[in-house]
Symmetry: C2
Subunit: 246 residues, 2 copies
């Protein structure tokens, strides 16, 4: 059974400041929770699930003390989804080893504001083996419940950091950087490099001009039709599918 203080605590985790203070985030639904339970960088803080779910999944989590059996109607009270699943888990934020600091592709996101877009970008990065994403301060919070759901578990495998993108670029001179724009060079000419920074901009405004001008290359995904722009996650996927070494 859920007590009132638990309900209030979980609801508070919808807000960044409470997530940051507690160092945790929420994930919901059997598939994501099962996946996160199997990745060491995140660890389980608390788990709220129906009796059936706990029975079916008891071999997945050793610690018995932090699981609470709840009724479906109780899950509705704490869920951030319009259609709650059978389980809601609170995880401690991932702590990444130094592997994410090795050379590789780093995505730089300039004010991606839509949580679904950010989550899909994290998931796409994970598919292509990108371990590191640097977000401008105006980007959505990666541990927002909507972002976590859209990552489909990839939040445990990609390190997402926040900071000034210009400073990050200045701190990594010599690494080729590619700004995805509407007017650069056709990206089929992009080099397959093992190490690079890729800048993806806000969908309405694109990449801030002063930031794009710092990139060593401007690239563009050739438009054959009439749409004004591409979705930021789709653009990131296309660039990542082409830049990696075969």
């Amino acid at each position: 059974m859920l007590v009132k203080s638990q309900v209030k605590y979980i609801q508070s985790l919808g807000h960044k400041k409470f997530r940051d203070a507690a160092g945790v985030f929420v994930a919901e639904g059997s598939k994501i929770v099962q996946e996160l339970l199997s990745y060491p960088p995140v660890s389980l803080a608390e788990l709220y699930a129906t009796r059936e779910w706990l029975l079916e999944n008891e071999n997945r989590f050793p610690a018995a003390k932090n699981k609470v059996a709840v009724e479906a109607h109780e899950l509705e009270r704490i869920s951030f989804l319009s259609t709650p699943g059978q389980v809601l888990a609170v995880f401690r934020k991932p702590v990444f080893s130094d592997i994410t600091k090795q050379p590789g592709i780093t995505l730089l996101l300039d004010e991606i504001q839509d949580p679904g877009n950010l989550g899909t970008i994290i998931r796409t990065a994970d598919w292509f083996g990108v371990r590191r994403i640097i977000c401008s301060p105006g980007t959505a919070d990666a541990f927002n419940p909507k972002v976590v759901q859209a990552t489909m578990g990839s939040i445990a495998r990609v390190e997402v950091l926040y900071g000034d993108l210009k400073e990050y670029m200045a701190g990594h001179p010599g690494i080729p950087s590619y700004a995805a724009t509407l007017d650069g060079e056709d990206l089929v000419h992009m080099l397959r490099v093992p190490e690079a920074l890729i800048l993806i901009g806000n969908e309405s405004r694109g990449i801030h001009k002063s930031l794009a001008s710092l990139a060593s290359h401007r690239i563009r995904i050739p438009r054959k039709g009439a749409a004004e722009s591409l979705n930021a996650a789709v653009a990131a996927g296309i660039v990542l599918s082409l830049i990696q070494k075969d």
Copy 2:
């Protein structure tokens, strides 16, 4: 001012059966409405906007009889968005000329259920000059307000039809067909063909086996990392970016 019957009518357009009966759909927000007003395949049925918006945009629509000045709080009553804009328009569904029947790339969508995903796929198709999408009956309705918003206006330029995908493939023999799967051939080997069918499947289940087996080629986007799958719109964008002739 809005009368009660108008409010009820617009709210009814959230449901497919009422959209189908009236042959119309809803678009909201200045950017999309302005774009749709400039594309002949769709025509304006009714427009509800604030006085300021009507004044700023009066040169965009000739017909005076079907516009209604409303207050911001009235827009909130009819809007399908969580943050209503300054304008909501009802458009007649697009009627496409035979240009969409010319040879080209056709996307076949097997049960894409998420409205945002479908809208993003339509927008991505438009970017790459794809004029035709065939959806299985289990796919979301292209004129669902959430889909329309995610298309960013591309709904006026891409013909979206619904029908049995196996029948469609059987009716188009000789055209190469590519099923995007997790176990096909690396898509970098995909031919740049001027005419093809591209199958994209439901994110959880992929393409139905019996449908994928009808495709002349199975392709896969190589995975370098650990994500279990790619978002369907991202996958569609990557395939479209590679299949088209340069």
